[in-house]
Symmetry: C2
Subunit: 435 residues, 2 copies
Amino acid sequence: MTTLQDCRALDAQDPLAPLRGHFSLPDGVIYLDGNSLGVLPKAAAARVADVVTREWGTDLIRSWNTASWFDLPQRLGNQLAPFIGAGKDEVVCTDSTSVNLYKVLSAALNIAREDSPARNRVVSERSNFPTDLYIAEGLCKERGLELVLVEPEEIAAALTADVAVLMLTHVNYRTGAMHDMAGITAAAHAAGILTVWDLAHSAGAVPVDLNGAGADFSIGCGYKYLNGGPGAPAFAWVHPRHANRFWQPLSGWWGHAAPFQFTPDYRPAPGITRYLCGTQPIISLSALQCGLDVFDAATPLGGMAALRAKSLALTDLFIALVEERCAGHGLGLATPRAHAQRGSQVCLTRDEGQGLNGQGSGAYAIVQALIARGVIGDFRKGDGGQGPHKDILRFGFTPLYLGYEDVWNAVEHLRQVLDTGEWRRPEFNQIHAVT
Amino acid sequence: MTTLQDCRALDAQDPLAPLRGHFSLPDGVIYLDGNSLGVLPKAAAARVADVVTREWGTDLIRSWNTASWFDLPQRLGNQLAPFIGAGKDEVVCTDSTSVNLYKVLSAALNIAREDSPARNRVVSERSNFPTDLYIAEGLCKERGLELVLVEPEEIAAALTADVAVLMLTHVNYRTGAMHDMAGITAAAHAAGILTVWDLAHSAGAVPVDLNGAGADFSIGCGYKYLNGGPGAPAFAWVHPRHANRFWQPLSGWWGHAAPFQFTPDYRPAPGITRYLCGTQPIISLSALQCGLDVFDAATPLGGMAALRAKSLALTDLFIALVEERCAGHGLGLATPRAHAQRGSQVCLTRDEGQGLNGQGSGAYAIVQALIARGVIGDFRKGDGGQGPHKDILRFGFTPLYLGYEDVWNAVEHLRQVLDTGEWRRPEFNQIHAVT
C-alpha cells in the first residue's frame, strides 16, 4: 500500500519537480484535464501582452519584418519537431487540427491513389475522435471513396489491397489506449497503405518518433499537452518523401512559393510550407510558443524520456490508489495496464444503472462533485448501454506540473465523493451543455 | 486650395473625432495602412490579459461554459452582422479568409451544379487578391472546372450560361476600386449564376448590404478595417436561402449539430454554424471583439453612413492635396474618382523608369521614405512594365481614427520626400522580404 508519506517522498526526489514553477496554476486546484486544455505557462501573460501592445500596437505592420510574424508557423514547427521525432523544416504550427487533417488526408489520398488508383478505402477506428471521422467522411463522400471504421483489434485484418490510407489517432481520447505507431505503420506499408497519425493526445504527452516509425503524415493539437492556450493553433507534419509531391487543397497565399509576388497563379512553396493557407492568428500563435518553451526547459532534465517515466509512474499510482481506496463503487478501468499501450491519461468507467435513482452511470455527477472540490477531470458519455462504450471519468496526467501528492489527494477526494455519496447531490446531476 | 487651417477646422467639426480615443496609436505615426493591419483598440490589451490570466489561467476548461467560448464565433458574427447588412445568426467569425473562401466556394459550387450540372466555370477578376484566386484554382482543379479570369469591364460579358459562380472581391486591394455589389449580383442572378463576395477591404470600411444586394455567399477579414489584431479570425456569411442546403467540406466538430454527443457520423448544424470546423483560437477571437466594439460605439454617432461620408471626404482631400502639392513627380491615380466606385483607400501609381538610376518606378523607395517619417502606407509591386499594372503606393484611410490634419501632414511629408529627393537614399531602395 502506497501512503501519502510515500508520495511526498517521491515528489522530493523528482528531478522534474522544478518544471511546475513554469506554470500558473489556480490555488486549490488539482488539474487532471491537461488532455483537454493545458494550463497557463507563466511566461504567456507577458508574452501575449508584448505581442498586443508592442508588436501590434506600436510596431504595427512593421512587425511582419521586425517580429518575424511571417515565419512564426515554421519557427514554432521547428521548436516542436524534436518532441515528436520530426526533423527541421518538417512541421508547421497553423490552423486547427480538423483543418490540418483535411489537408494531410487530401494529400495522402492524392498520393496513394496516384500510385494505386484502385485503392478506394480509408480505414479508421470507430472510436477515433469524432472530428477526425467527420473530416474523413466529408472527403470520402466528395471523392467517392469508402470510409471503413473498425475496432482496434480489427485493424490488422482491415489492411487490404483496396485501402489507400489508414488514419488513426495515436492515443485514444476516450480510453487513453495507445497504438504501436511503428508496428502499425510497418504493417500498413507492407500492404501498400499510407498512414495519417493524429497526435492530439500524444504530442507533449508521450515520446513520439514520426521519422523513426516511418509515418507518412501527422497532425496534432496545440492546446492540450502542449499548453498553447484555448484553441491554440494546431500542427501538421509530412514526411519529406511526400512533402513536394502534392499541393493540398487549401492552397492559400501563406503556402505560396513567393507570397509577396502576388502572382495570380498558385505555385506551392517547397516542403512543409505548402501546408500553410491563410494568415494566422499571431496572438494565439505567440502564446503557443510559451507552451513549447517549457519543453525546451525540460530537455536538460531528461526531456520526453523523463517526462514519460514520470507520466507512467503517476498513472500507475493513480490506478493502484483507485483500486485500493475506491473499491466497491463500481469503477472499472478503460485504460490499458500495459505501459506500451497507455498514453498519459487514466479513464475510469462506471456501469449503467448506478446513477441517481438508478438512472445512468453517475459518472457525470462524480466528475462534477470532484470539480466542485477542485479536482478537475472530465466526463465522456458512453452509449448508454446500447453498445460497448461505457460512461467515462477521464483524468489526464501532465508530468510537467503534477506531482505524486497531487495524485494521492485526487484519489482521496474521489474516495470521499463516493464513500459519502456526495455525488448524489442534485446540483451535480444537472447536465451542462459543455463539460 | 485647401489649407492646413481648413483641415483643422474640419477636425474641430467632426462628430466622429471622439472615436480616435478608442485606439492606441503610436506617437509620431500617421497610419495609412489600416487596410493591411488595423490599429490596436485600447480595450484589447486588458481584454486579452483577462482571457489569458482569468479565463485560461484560473478558470481553465470551466471557461467553455462560464466564458461562453463555444459560441464566441456566433456571438462575434452577430455583432458584426449589422455592419455588413447581414441578419442575426447569419455570420460566424472563424478561421482565415482563405479557409472560409474554400468553404463557401465549395458550397456555392455544390448548389449551383446541383441546380445546373452543365455549369462548369468560375469567373473572377484577374486582379482579385491572389489567395482568392489560389483557392479557386485549387477547387476548380479538384473538380474539373474552369477558372476564368477577366478584367472588371469584361465581367458582364463573362456571365454566360456555363458559369456556376461569380467570385469577386468587393473593393480591389491594389486599386481601391469598388464594385456595384447589388448591380453585379442582379446581373449574375439573371444569368442563373451564384455570387461569392470577398469583403476583405469592405467590412468596416464602406457600407455593405449583403441581404439588400441579395448576395449568396460572403467572407471577409478580421484584421484590416475591423481592427481585430494580427491574423485575427475572419468571417463567413451565407444567405439564409442557401444555409441549410449543403454542408461544406471542412466538416469539423464545431459545425456538428450535436458536438458533445461525439457521434461517429457527421450531422451538420442548422444554418451558419455548419460553416465552423475546428476549435478556434480564443485569445485572438477575443481581441477581434474589441475591434467590433468600436463600431458599436460609432453607431450613435451615425454608424457606417457617417463613417462612409468621412472616408470619402478624407480620400477626396488626399487626392486633391496630392494633385495640388505633389505635381510634377510622375504620380498617377489608380483609385476611381467616382465615389460609388471607391473603397476607403487611395492608390497612387508611378511610371517605370523613374526610380533610382532610372530603374523601376521608385514607388517602393518613396513608401519607405514615408515610413521612416512615420507616415505608414504600403507598396504593391506592379508588373514591371510587362502589363497594365503599375507599381502602387497604397494608402488606407480609416475614419475611425484619422483626421483631416493627418491627411494634410501625410501629403506634406510626401511632398518633402519628393521635392528633396530624399527617397533616393540607398537605405530606402533596399528591398525587404515583406513590406
